[in-house]
């Protein structure tokens, strides 16, 4: 049971959190301007690095706020958590 540091609540157990996938994938400003392939990439394709990865997490059983965390996907170590 890992500990995550919620930027608002502090250290909490991982069971209080929900994972939200890769961070920094904004909703496209004008989806109509995208080709099917480009829109498909937004919907379905995410990075999957071995190493540090910026991810979205939400403290779903706590303050229910979203934040970004950088996690090493090899060691599972959380390197940084920020609003």
């Amino acid at each position: 049971m890992q500990l995550l540091t919620c930027p608002w609540c502090g250290d909490r157990e991982e069971a209080e959190f929900r994972y939200g996938g890769q961070a920094g994938v904004p909703y496209p400003a004008d989806p109509r301007a995208l080709s099917d392939a480009e829109w498909g990439r937004y919907l379905f394709v995410r990075d999957n690095p071995a190493g540090p990865f910026a991810e979205r997490w939400v403290h779903s059983a706590g303050c229910r706020r979203w934040f970004t965390a950088v996690r090493d996907t090899v060691t599972h170590e959380f390197l940084r958590e920020a609003p």
Binding site: E14, L34, G40, L43, V58, W66
Partner: protein, 916 residues
């Protein structure tokens, strides 16, 4: 049976009291403080169990949880299906019996209580032997919050029962001091069984009266593993006879319980530690008939005896052989540090060729081993190593440590190097099996066979031979197997390594892990404000998520079908009411609420006038339907959303996610008000009459209160929101009041409806009524691959809005391809045939050879009072183009039911009733 092997003094047992127990039907007596094993040994009984596959008699090899052989079943005072005799604390009235390798659950109710506790500390010390006590005392005296966990009834470890020496007295004083310190928690009878991420250690605590098990979830900033070491045997032919015991275990029985293992004792050792046992045995008056030291070339090659060892066959360095008459053979093949927790924490182990054991290679930032668990042997070394580990744990916490005075220990003579011996030569070809894992009846020959079959890794040998997979997790056999494997492969055990240590390192009952989270406490049960009324009325309930919802209200003598048909008929012909309080309700406030809802719903919500409602569909960005409900504008900047019962939390989270992560500039606040409001749908042609009777201030005429509008008024004198919304297709209203007033308003509605035969109806009738109208239930008629267009809900998708979540996906090639599954109704040719939900649809009257081309499946299926027949909803490939066609549903009984595809709206297609 008399305790002929109990010494007149010594041990930490209470000799003033006698504890009577029964084993395998024979009555015995022991003392409080005994284990079942020590009490049996005191009575001269070694043979307690039978081996799992060969059926050989088995005795007591060890004095602790590492025991591979002495498996017993406890029948009284409360049942435990499979435990080791070495860990069962003796108590009056204990009834136990030996097992043949595996136990059976009794099926009887379990009287034990199970619970769990969370604890947090600066330093967790696992093991209260010399090293653990020194570490805990060092940390505690520096003011750290300390938890000290030990599996025995009292602290002391190897010093338990040693009252005479300065070290023994020091241990007792240290334990007393720790117990008295306010920031120290000493957990006895507590086995730390697993180390998990970020220094979470789980420990199982046992209590006898009343029986209880408690799982401690200890989050520690620093962990010191001072769990001691497990002695390992040597493999030789017939090394499993009762009366064969590890030398260190014999010393424990002697010192802790005042028990001699036998009268004429032979010792076979590879190292110095067994000589401590020899010295203590001789001091206690036992006869040690021979000490066979492998370092001198003396080896045991076999044993004899039926239910207990009677002689040992030995060979000397010069090749001479002799038989030694003996009733007990004590064996020491060296010691394995109990580094399980350290290894689980991903601490690296290295092979120590001198010890013939894997020892911690060095501390982790927050986990360190100490004492013999760290490969340090000898009392003085363990005390110093423990104190050092405590100091370094404090340093890691940026606390200063003061040296703790340690007791003087007798000077340990320059030790003679141990001989690393896994098995005696030719043990694989001995007359009798030479066991490696006694719990699994796995032998040296089995390991050689595994190597011969091509296994090259200890993990493969483990799985091929099952060595190390029993209740004891190979504590006495794992390294032995690795050593023998290395020998067979002609490789080095250091490079071969050990199998991976995984939690739990000791058996844990599932009931303890479940704790209180079982039965009604397994999952929260949510009930509405009207629940007590439903119960009194005899409602049958169905679970919808965590909610209990009234399913139907049977009258005396009614079955479900009759009751549901009656309830449906009442709504279609008179008036019915139901408890809709479980619908998710979300209050939306803020100046950007309208803009926000336009972005997330497929329909246009910003043009809604205050006091108007609209059906709304939520899609994912992929264009698939996520949920549906109504959107009511309750003010300029305020809306009330409803969601399906099961998706209430999901929808709130979904909306929050967009607000927090994408549209952070929108000034919108969301609040769940699901449990604030009790909602009562009132449906049927007479619903207006009922409402008029209880809401005198409300103009209920169609002109003043039209479909999809919402009013605030008093209902039965209670402030209420009344919305003209219909999920049945009938003229209908939803009456929402604060939950406190729910019963009063419900009863007022019932009273007002008496003249019209008002009927409470449950979720089943609700489903039939909505299905007759072709209204889909998200999650039942959809599965995450269904667009609003597939459901025939294009009318609820705005053509005007430039974008909303999901819109772009409607233009994807896959969303527009022909042949998508669409929602249609099915009318079975046999009007009494109720199709099973989930049944597949095919295009031919006979089921063709596989693979059978499937056209879709039944999503909802009911018996309709209004249609006087059965019907179903289904997702069917190109369903709307197939209306009027006959399709076929293969059934479990081998028959095939023909069905006609129909428009999903089977009742009142014009909507005249709803708008009336």
């Amino acid at each position: 049976m008399t305790a002929a092997f109990r010494l007149p003094s010594g041990g930490v047992i209470d000799r003033s009291r006698t504890t009577r127990f029964t084993f395998d039907g024979t009555a015995y007596a022991g003392h409080p403080g005994d284990t079942l094993a020590s009490a049996l040994l005191a009575c001269g009984r070694h043979h307690v169990a039978t081996s799992i596959s060969l059926g050989r008699p088995r005795g007591i090899l060890t004095a602790g949880p590492e025991e591979p052989c002495a498996l017993v079943r406890v029948d009284a005072p409360y049942a435990e299906p499979m435990v080791t005799a070495t860990t069962v604390e003796l108590r009056d009235g204990l009834v136990a019996a030996g097992l043949a390798g595996r136990g059976r659950l009794t099926g009887a109710p379990d009287p034990a209580r199970y619970d769990s506790v969370h604890a947090h500390c600066d330093v967790l010390v696992v093991g209260a032997g010399p090293a653990g006590l020194a570490a805990a005392l060092t940390a505690a005296r520096a003011g750290a919050r300390v938890v000290l966990a030990d599996d025995q009834p009292r602290p002391g470890g190897s010093l338990l029962g040693d009252d005479a020496s300065p070290a023994g007295r020091w241990a007792a004083e240290a334990a007393a001091e720790l117990a008295a310190l306010p920031d120290v928690r000493v957990l006895t009878r507590t086995t730390a069984f697993g180390h998990y991420d970020d220094n979470l250690v789980l420990a199982l605590q046992a209590r006898q009266d009343p029986p209880a098990r408690r799982v401690w979830r200890i989050r520690a900033r620093q962990v010191v593993v001072a769990a001691g070491a497990h002695e390992r045997p040597v493999a030789f032919g017939g090394n499993d006879r009762p009366g064969i015991m590890l030398a260190g275990a014999a010393r424990v029985y002697l010192r802790r319980y005042g028990v001699l293992p036998g009268r004429a004792i032979t010792v076979f050792t590879t190292n110095d530690s067994a000589y401590d046992t020899v010295r203590d045995l001789e001091r206690a008056g036992a006869q040690v008939v021979a000490v066979l030291d492998a370092r001198d070339g003396d080896l045991v090659t076999g044993t004899s005896g039926t239910e207990r060892i009677t002689s040992v066959r030995a060979v000397a360095a010069d090749g001479s052989r002799r038989d030694i008459e003996t009733d007990t053979l004590l064996v020491s093949g060296g010691w394995n540090p109990a580094a399980q927790l350290f290894s689980q924490a991903r601490g690296r182990l290295r092979y120590d060729a001198g010890l013939g054991a894997f020892v911690p290679a060095g501390p982790l930032p927050a986990v360190r081993a100490a004492g013999s668990a760290n490969g340090v042997f000898g009392l003085g070394g363990c005390l110093a190593d423990g104190a050092g580990a405590g100091t370094r744990a404090l340093e890691a916490l940026a606390r200063s440590a003061h040296p703790v005075p340690l007791p003087p220990v007798p000077r340990e003579d320059g030790p003679r190097p141990a001989r690393v011996l896994w098995s005696v030569p030719d043990a694989g070809g001995a007359d009798e099996p030479a066991f490696v894992d006694l719990a699994r009846d796995a032998t040296v020959a089995d390991v050689l066979r595994a190597a011969g079959a091509g296994m090259r890794s200890v993990e493969h040998v483990k799985r091929y031979t099952t060595i190390g997979t029993a209740h004891d997790q190979g504590k006495t056999s794992g390294v032995l197997a690795a050593g023998i494997t290395a020998g067979a492969l002609g490789t080095d055990i250091a490079s071969l390594g050990t199998t991976t240590f995984r939690p739990p390192q000791a058996p844990v009952p599932f009931a303890a892990l479940a704790g209180r989270d079982r039965g009604p406490l397994f999952d929260p049960v949510r009930v509405t404000a009207l629940h007590s009324w439903h119960v009194c009325r005899g409602a049958k309930f169905e679970n919808v998520g965590q909610w209990k919802r009234p399913w139907y209200y049977p009258r005396p003598g009614e079955d479900m079908e009759t009751a549901v048909l009656r309830e449906c008929r009442a709504v279609r012909t008179g008036v019915g009411l139901m408890d809709g309080s479980t619908l998710g309700k979300i209050n939306v406030q803020g100046p950007d609420s309208a803009e926000f809802l336009d972005r997330v719903y497929t329909g246009m919500m910003s043009t809604l006038k205050t006091g108007s409602a609209r059906y709304g569909v939520l899609c994912g960005a992929d264009g698939m339907v996520l949920d549906d409900g109504t959107v009511t504008r309750t003010g300029t900047d305020e809306y009330l959303l409803t969601t399906t019962t099961g998706n209430a939390a999901l929808v709130l989270d979904w909306l929050e996610e967009w607000l927090q992560t994408e549209w952070t500039g929108l000034r919108v606040h969301l609040t769940s008000v699901t449990e604030h409001w009790a909602t009562i749908p009132l449906a049927g042609p007479r619903s207006r009459d009922v409402l008029a009777a209880v809401a005198p201030d409300l103009d209920v005429s169609n002109e003043a209160f039209g479909f999809m509008t919402s009013k605030e008024t008093a209902v039965a004198g209670v402030p209420a929101r009344v919305s003209r919304i219909s999920f049945s297709g009938e003229l209908a209203y939803e009456v929402s009041v604060v939950a406190w007033e729910a019963i009063a308003v419900w009863e007022a509605l019932l009273k007002a409806g008496v003249a019209y035969g008002i009927t409470p109806y449950g979720t089943e009738a609700m489903h039939v009524l909505r299905a007759e109208k072709g209204y889909p239930v998200i999650g039942q008629d959809t599965d995450g691959t269904v667009t609003p267009q597939d459901l025939g809900l294009s009318w609820a998708v705005s053509k005007k809005k430039p974008d909303f979540v999901g819109k772009r996906s409607f233009a994807r090639a896959d969303s527009t391809r022909p042949g998508r599954k669409q929602l249609v109704a099915l009318l079975p040719a046999d009007t009494g045939r109720l199709l099973p939900e989930g049944a597949a649809l095919i295009g031919t009257p006979a089921v063709p050879a596989p693979p059978v081309p499937m056209l879709g499946h039944v999503t909802s299926s009911y018996r309709s009072a209004a249609l006087d027949r059965t019907f179903a909803l289904a997702l069917v490939r190109s369903g709307r183009d197939r209306i009027g066609q006959t399709l076929y549903v293969p059934l479990d009984d081998g028959s095939v039911a023909p069905v006609t595809v129909a428009d999903p709206v089977l009742y009142d297609k014009e909507g005249a009733r709803r708008d009336g």
